[in-house]
């Protein structure tokens, strides 16, 4: 006890033999060395203790963030699973043509507003850029509609002139269909498109998020593909009832399809974001725990070394007196 108290108040290093090999193997050695006279090297325990305190706080914070993400995930996950049936009828009717050749394609990138969620936003942005490259060519142009701060930050850096609309703070209120359909309406009104490609992370499980792209075609392109045969060839066999013209119904259909697919995409991305945040915070707490263990070992070794030093001094002093 007395040794610990003395050690805390010590400033000048005492002379002691260089048998403290433990100190040299410490991970924090170079920067926090106190070099005493005759080249003695050891680390001040105060520094190690401060570091341990901050690492412990970080561990607590990341653990709490993981709990929060887990509870948010539970809330969104049930909604997402219920909305999965929404896009299936449209794909059953209109098929899925990601490789359709169009003049104007618009890439809708869905990302999160907050960070610390692993690599999902960078993956979405990379895929969006890939699709942009895929659809570039003579007479073809690709524009972006960005949802979420993180994708905005990344895309504004090099594709600023290609961005048509930026929408942020999507998750301020709980996600619901009305909000998303208003959003879809805005996009449809302001952006001209032949094909809309929605890029998002589909939620498979808490550890796996699959980047996905859903394609929604404008009614003119649907007509064109139906006439030319191929995958949409049997669309002509469908009788279209109601409305003045077939075109009007197809227009409504395309808009409805877009809002439904957007709703599912936004929910899946929100789920993926919470899941990714959970695993990021989990690995972060684990790393903090590992670091804390290593620091504790260093701390104990340093403490024991300094106690040993003191004892040696005392004993050698005493034996010198006895002479």
């Amino acid at each position: 006890m007395a040794a610990l108290r003395r050690e805390g108040r010590r400033f000048a290093p005492l002379i002691s033999p260089r048998s403290i090999t433990a100190v040299r193997s410490s991970p924090i050695a170079p920067t926090h060395e106190d070099e005493g006279p005759i080249g003695v090297r050891y680390i001040s325990t105060q520094v190690v203790r401060n570091r341990m305190k901050s690492v412990k706080n970080i561990q607590k914070i990341t653990k709490a963030m993981k709990m929060v993400a887990a509870s948010k995930l539970r809330a969104v996950q049930s909604k997402t699973e219920n909305s999965r049936g929404l896009w299936q009828p449209f794909t059953a009717l209109l098929g899925d043509l990601p490789s359709v050749d169009v003049k104007k394609s618009v890439v809708v990138t869905i990302s999160s507003d907050k960070g610390l969620c692993g690599g999902i936003n960078s993956t979405s942005v990379k895929i969006s850029k890939g699709i942009h490259k895929l659809n570039s060519g003579p007479e073809k142009e690709t524009k972006y509609v960005v949802l979420g701060e993180k994708a905005k930050a990344q895309l504004i850096r090099d594709s600023k002139k290609d961005i048509e609309l930026i929408i942020t703070e999507l998750q301020k209120n709980a996600l619901n269909y009305t909000q998303v359909s208003v959003l879809a309406d805005e996009i449809l009104k302001n952006v001209e498109f032949d094909a809309l490609r929605i890029v998002f992370n589909k939620f498979h499980s808490v550890v796996s998020f699959v980047p996905t792209v859903s394609t929604v075609l404008s009614p003119e392109i649907v007509e064109r593909e139906a006439e030319s045969g191929g995958k949409l060839g049997d669309l002509d066999n469908y009788e279209v009832e109601g409305g003045e013209t077939k075109g009007e119904i197809l227009q409504n259909l395309a808009e409805f399809q877009f809002s439904c697919v957007m709703f599912n995409a936004v929910l899946e991305n929100a789920c993926s974001e919470q899941g990714a945040r959970m695993s990021a915070m989990d690995s972060s707490s684990r790393n903090a725990g590992d670091m804390l263990d290593r620091l504790t070992l260093t701390y104990n070794r340093t403490r024991q070394a300094s106690i040993t030093t003191e004892l040696i001094e005392i004993i050698s002093g005493a034996s010198a007196l006895e002479g």
Partner: protein
Amino acid sequence: MLRRAMGLLARPVAAARARSFSTDLPAAQTADSTFVEAWNKVMPNMDPPKTPLSFMQPRPATPSSIPSKLTVNFVLPYASELTTKEVDMVIVPATTGQMGVLPGHVATITELKPGVLSVHKGNETTKYFISSGFVFIHANSFADIIAVEAVPLDQIDANLVQKGLAEFTQKLSSATTDLEKAEAQIGIDVHSALNSALTG
């Protein structure tokens, strides 16, 4: 660095695991091959993104004879009310009037107006009030009904319907702009449909 390693680990695991999830079964055609090829040419270092085709439940082909039952999928944004339920008949409120759908109905795409959807199976009938949507009837006797809102009829309060109708009629008479008139008209349409649903 650790995060990217985790991401790299997750993707092959996901690709291997994707088959075994019961919620998303692969279809017979799991990916659009032209898309995958074009992607690999442009971005050889990244896996191509998945498309909805890989997550679709496969649909059966058109049978040669008319099947005895109609398979109905009734979906809403926040729930799937009926998934592949085999019924005898459904009556949908199309914009052109009530339309009955039996097995073997010709393939149709119809828009719906606010009204009553009734599902007949054997002797029992379930009625829902839906607020517009679409119905796709496929040649293989599959019917997809997509609505924005649906409530079973017994959950509708008649007093609130009357009040709403009166409110919107009053709004229509006091409406100035076209937008307000259209909104009031929609309100009146929905409430009068609700009214007739309750009485009829």
